[in-house]
Symmetry: C2
Subunit: 276 residues, 2 copies
């Protein structure tokens, strides 16, 4: 049996496009509709049978039993009201935004069958042309139910992500944003800062270390400005924590304290090695 009848994906970029592709592959929906600002994206996706129908006009999502909001955080917040007027009462709605508190607060008031998702997948590249097979396989997907979340929405969206290959974890939206500020948003801020700090004339001496450390600084600027601002309070705390740790390394270098320096680096290395 199909999990959904008509799925509408609003924002067929890297994540939205990958969801369409994986749902098609696994025959999880009878019909997949794509909405994009870009006509070329829709033509591309239709040609490859990733979506069945596409439109730049939101009204195409009428009668969907699942709507996935896969636009940048800011656009999710702005378009929710319009979308609510188009869909049926029993339509399940989820989003894939990188921050959750602000979005869940707003969307759970607007949609009766809403639950927030955040698949920890994707890359610094954007757009449907960069989608990969098995984007979600063995990745983590955080769902952020609240006490008001409809059990039906939770159950169906949990099943959806599980069938796309993700390991599903439930967190409350605030905890999600706190964690993500450290494991994702701070690393982005640091990568942007690091490349910004290197004088232009030195860039041709770049070795692999700097390349890897700043890979995610190729990420979209507007998208990440949005994320930082949407997770503002946690971001400020994460940056402060980072600043404190950097000051300690700096101070150890400044006072030539080899022992303290080695101890700090060793602890960091140990944590890094636990990541694998």
């Amino acid at each position: 049996m199909k999990l959904f009848n008509k799925v509408a994906i609003v924002g067929t970029g890297l994540i939205g496009g990958s969801m369409a592709l994986e749902m098609k592959k696994r025959r999880l929906a009878r019909q997949i509709i794509g909405v994009s600002r870009h006509k070329s994206t829709l033509i591309w996706a239709k040609k490859r049978r990733i979506i069945d129908k596409g439109s730049q006009d939101l009204s195409i999502i009428r009668d969907a039993d699942l709507v996935v909001l896969a636009t940048p955080v800011n656009t999710i917040l702005k378009s929710a009201g319009i979308i609510a007027k188009l869909i049926r009462q029993d339509c399940i709605v989820t989003d894939v935004g990188s921050t959750k508190k602000e979005i869940v607060d707003k969307l759970s008031k607007i949609f009766p069958n809403y639950i927030g998702s955040h698949p920890l997948a994707g890359s610094e590249r954007r757009g449907i042309a960069n989608i990969d097979m098995d984007m979600f396989k063995e990745s983590l997907c955080v769902l952020t139910p609240t006490k008001d979340t409809s059990p039906r929405a939770l159950k169906r969206i949990k099943s959806l992500w599980a069938q796309l290959g993700a390991r599903v974890v439930l967190l409350n939206p605030g905890t999600h944003d706190k964690i993500l500020s450290f494991v994702s948003h701070l690393p982005h801020a640091v990568a942007f800062t690091l490349i910004d700090a290197v004088p232009d004339k030195y860039l041709r001496f770049t070795a692999n270390g700097l390349k890897d450390t700043t890979r995610i600084a190729s990420s979209d600027s507007r998208l990440w400005a949005d994320i930082f601002l949407s997770n503002r309070r946690n971001m400020l705390e994460a940056i402060e924590s980072f600043q404190g740790k950097l000051s300690r390394i700096k101070s150890a270098i400044s006072r030539k304290d080899e022992k303290a320096l080695i101890a700090i680096l060793k602890r960091a290395k140990g944590k890094k090695e636990n990541l694998r």
Copy 2:
């Protein structure tokens, strides 16, 4: 014709071992001698014919016409005096240390035919077991001659690195250290700091961004403490520059200045894209 007759590599780790391997492959030396603290390393290297002879005792380097110092920065500084007593006057000496000012200052006083090298190759892994074919191919190798450098040493070492596949660039030692503080040492300090800042209990939510950004935090702690301290003044300046840039991002987030934030991130992304 062979470039060298007897080459002694002191410290047959990732870089020293790779040099031996590449010199063997290209038949650049009649004989390659390895010196290591670890007997197992020497046995491993001899078995694979990467070196012809190995010893834990430095006296094996007698009669070499090239000595390569490939130990950590600190050990290079400590062992130079002993090595000077063992070798011939006309022996060419180079090192592959990641900082140059302190090393060149000391070694050019001790060895009449010395020139500093720094191949921008290698990885967060250490040891001869991690050597790769063509480690130096298309990589950059900085040589740091001074006004006192013997033209013969410069010519021969330049030719050596070119034959190992590296693009050779000449910089004075101070300029080298200044540049490297930004393109290599700062990224390491930042990677160590970043992983240190992430609370342990959040580590299981790590996505690819944090993994890449902190790859080099797996680097050896003692080795990097050495490098930071040997390039102390530049490191402090590079960290300060980074701190200033991070404060600007933080301040834009704090005052919800989306426009300023996008402008900063966009500039960073532009620089990152020029790296490729």
